[in-house]
């Protein structure tokens, strides 16, 4: 399915549903067997593999995403720690990291899946990439950095314009200008950082002409740590004008590190759920109840790739699912994110990056650091 994503994304609905259900049900039975913590939760809910076979994927007990923040997270693992190859984290405004631990098999599957999606949605096989996010060299466990960095393998040249949580807009523009005429140029980063580059261009009265084939790819959410929201439509208009790029090539992605799902926007700005995942939208007040397509509710994601832990996740995000055909030719589930659940922290890597950038900027101002030399972050505080 991963290697044939183009055809899997165009299967008739009944065939695709059946293929996805087979993957997810097989993994449900596996985690039910291998994970005593999860099996107890299933038993408490009166659910076993036979129940899921007869009642469908909506019967699968979900793990609230907050469990990945708890200090007894070892309970979530279906494999021994020795088999865990990759730990990826996300930290929101609360400060406690959420950590997803993937074994070798899952790491391989997810890496291949992301590459397949990047090829399917962006057709990137070269060019230059400007990354407005921390590099994995600085933050090797940060989910957002890892997901963006996978693009580097498809590009010919990459440049990170964020150093030690200090943004270098001048350096970013210089890179894009330097690559002009030599290759296609792309921009990757969370919306607030791309928006910051756009504001820099507005202030300096500059407009770039990235041109045909160039992409702006965002991930990390539209809510800022201050609580303000970046308007997606206005962002696209501004980016199209300032970067000289078609709006169809300005694409957002939605995912969370605990799930194996990255929903990528097509040129019509619909976020497509990959066929190895199943999205179910739940009643906000009773998450055991699935709501119909087109109704707003809490997003739940079930993975058909994960052998490390039961990746049947009840998120803290509110959104809408719809299923069927898209103008781009793909069929399947599509989701749109609306907001965080009331009471949930404004949480993701991007929010934390923005807060860190503001902390470092304030600190640099306080110590009157020389312009042009990126400040080193203050030492780890003991509290």
């Amino acid at each position: 399915m991963i290697c044939a994503l183009d055809s899997a994304s165009r299967l008739p609905d009944a065939d695709r549903r059946e293929a996805t259900a087979r993957l997810v049900m097989r993994l449900f039975a596996y985690h039910y067997e291998c994970n005593s913590f999860y099996r107890r939760r299933c038993e408490d809910a009166g659910v076993d593999p036979r129940t899921v076979m007869s009642r469908g994927l909506a019967a699968i007990p979900l793990l609230p995403v907050g469990l990945f923040k708890q200090s007894n997270a070892h309970l979530l693992l279906s494999r021994p720690l020795e088999e865990v190859e990759l730990e990826i984290r996300s930290t929101g405004t609360g400060g406690v990291p959420s950590v997803a631990r993937r074994d070798t098999k899952t790491t391989t599957a997810v890496a291949l899946a992301l590459m397949a999606q990047y090829r399917e949605f962006f057709s990137i096989s070269g060019g230059a990439g400007l990354f407005l996010c921390p590099s994995p060299a600085e933050n090797p466990e940060m989910g957002l950095a890892k997901v963006f960095n996978l693009f580097c393998g498809l590009l010919d040249r990459s440049h990170y314009a964020l150093h030690g949580y200090s943004v270098r807009e001048d350096e970013a523009v210089e890179f894009l200008v330097h690559e002009q005429g030599s290759t296609v140029r792309h921009v990757f980063g969370p919306p607030f950082l791309v928006n910051r580059l756009l504001d820099y261009l507005v202030k300096s009265g500059s407009e770039l002409k990235l041109g045909e084939g160039s992409l702006v790819v965002t991930l990390g959410g539209w809510k800022r740590y201050t609580g303000a929201t970046i308007d997606e439509r206005r962002f696209r208009e501004k980016a199209a004008r300032r970067l000289g790029i078609e709006q169809a090539n300005i694409r957002d992605m939605y995912g969370l590190i605990e799930s194996d799902m990255l929903a990528i926007e097509c040129e019509h700005h619909h976020k497509h759920v990959p066929p190895w995942c199943h999205v179910s939208v739940r009643d906000i007040f009773d998450p055991s109840r699935e709501v119909p397509d087109g109704t707003r509710g809490v997003i739940a994601v079930s993975s058909g790739l994960n052998t490390s832990y039961p990746a049947f996740i009840l998120t803290e995000d509110v959104g809408v699912r719809r299923e069927g055909g898209c103008e781009c030719g793909r069929r399947g589930q599509m989701i749109s994110f609306s907001r965080r659940l009331k009471g949930a922290e404004v949480g993701c890597c991007a929010v934390n990056i923005e807060r860190e950038i503001d902390t470092v900027s304030a600190w640099a101002r306080d110590v009157a650091i020389e312009p042009g030399s990126p400040p080193r972050r203050p030492a780890s505080p003991a509290r």
Binding site: E82, G95, P97, V99, N139, R377, S380, A382
Partner: protein, 126 residues
Amino acid sequence: MARFSDEIVEHFTHPKNVGELPEPDADASVVDPVCGGQVHLTVRMGDGRICEARFVAYGCAAALGTASIVAEWVVGMGPEDLASLDEAAVTQRVGGLAPGQSHCARLAMEVLHALADDLRTGKGSE
């Protein structure tokens, strides 16, 4: 080298001394702002030495395992013993850390030094 030492695997999978002591004689918390790892230690003293310790930790598996090992290790130590421990001592005690896990030794050392400060001055975790 294996990704996790036997000691880390054991303590991550079966953490010991988890929680917080009520009305501890000293406590310390540290946060690594980059990796997000957090460790909180509470201890009770008897005859100038730690006789009981509890920990709460968040972060990667190596950080959680190291915190559990540290909470067991510090029993019997006094403030001067804690202050003398460095990253190398922590790394050795946990059975080695892979290159990407060295921040766990630093986190542990910082919480031990903060605990020593708290024991000596009562201000280690302020």
